[in-house]
Symmetry: C2
Subunit: 158 residues, 2 copies
DNA sequence: TATTGTTATACTCTATAACTATA
DNA sequence: TATAGTTATAGAGTATAACAATA
């Protein structure tokens, strides 16, 4: 034991191995630790495409939902409208998406991906898929399915 | 179909329901969505104790590992040393922890919880436990165990 | 009056470089 | 020379208020 290795007037126990046991009782803690790893891996992959987690999600939703409005994106991804503006601006500047005025409501914009945006999105989706398969290779299909089911249950609690 | 509801010169399909289907193929996306809910709930509980996720984790590790150094805390929780300083300062100011000079290495501090810190920690742990049970009540023991196992597998990949 | 997108701004969280005191 | 803790600062990420244009 390291505890008795130094002979001071007062005992000053030094910690050899840090224990996080009290936090391990919480499923939320395990999920956070795991998500940190996933996020690091994801950001690594996305860096290749000059995208971040948020801008990638935005691009995907625009590709998947052609004609989506910024306000819809905002609520779907829980991003505040003002923060979405700079993300959209960047994607537009890179010519991955276009803003079209909605003719029936001139306040709104319809967002659509360009061909370049479509292609980048597809490439990114494939790359992430590859990385997830690698990251989750120790987790079999049944477990993955259970995890997804559990996550959906939690998500529905909000 | 909403798509044909407006008759403009160019078709401007409006999205009625936003689909995030391409993201749902990723376990990481499900985990993120679920974690958002968990984090919101956790922060809500911790607000009662004037703690945040990080300061709570720090307090728990100090209670669990009496005599831990800031550098050990830093690497255990992946917090940069400079950022840890302000967290420790705040906990010390609230007299939840104390900093003691390590007699054998006067560069370092040993961190220990006070009685008040101990008690606050215990109360917070119990409160979080209660909230987690509520949040995860739709998930049975077998599923929870599977989730934890999967999260540990992912965490080990880093 | 309410909504869409925007601007400006502030606040939190995290990251980096450089310092001090000790080893 | 290297390490523990600190300071200052910069950069993300996120949140809020107020505005113009439009409904």
């Amino acid at each position: 034991m390291k505890q008795s290795s130094s002979a001071q007037s007062r005992s000053q126990p030094e910690i050899a191995e840090v224990s996080d046991a009290p936090l391990r009782q919480f499923m939320g803690y395990h999920i956070k630790r795991a998500f940190n790893v996933i996020q690091a891996d994801l950001n690594d992959v996305l860096k290749t495409f000059e995208l971040r987690m948020v801008s990638f999600s935005v691009l995907v939703l625009i590709v998947e939902n052609p004609g989506i409005r910024q306000s819809q994106l905002s609520s779907a991804l829980a991003i505040e409208r003002p923060n979405l503006v700079v993300i959209i601006d960047a994607l537009e500047k890179r010519e991955l998406i276009v803003r079209d005025r909605l003719l029936t409501d001139r306040r709104a914009y319809l967002l659509q991906a360009t061909m370049a945006g479509d292609q980048l999105c597809e490439k990114a989706l494939r790359a992430i898929n590859t990385h997830e398969n690698k990251l989750f290779e120790g987790i079999d299909a049944a477990m993955r399915s259970t995890v997804v089911q559990a996550m959906r249950t939690i998500e529905a609690q909000s």
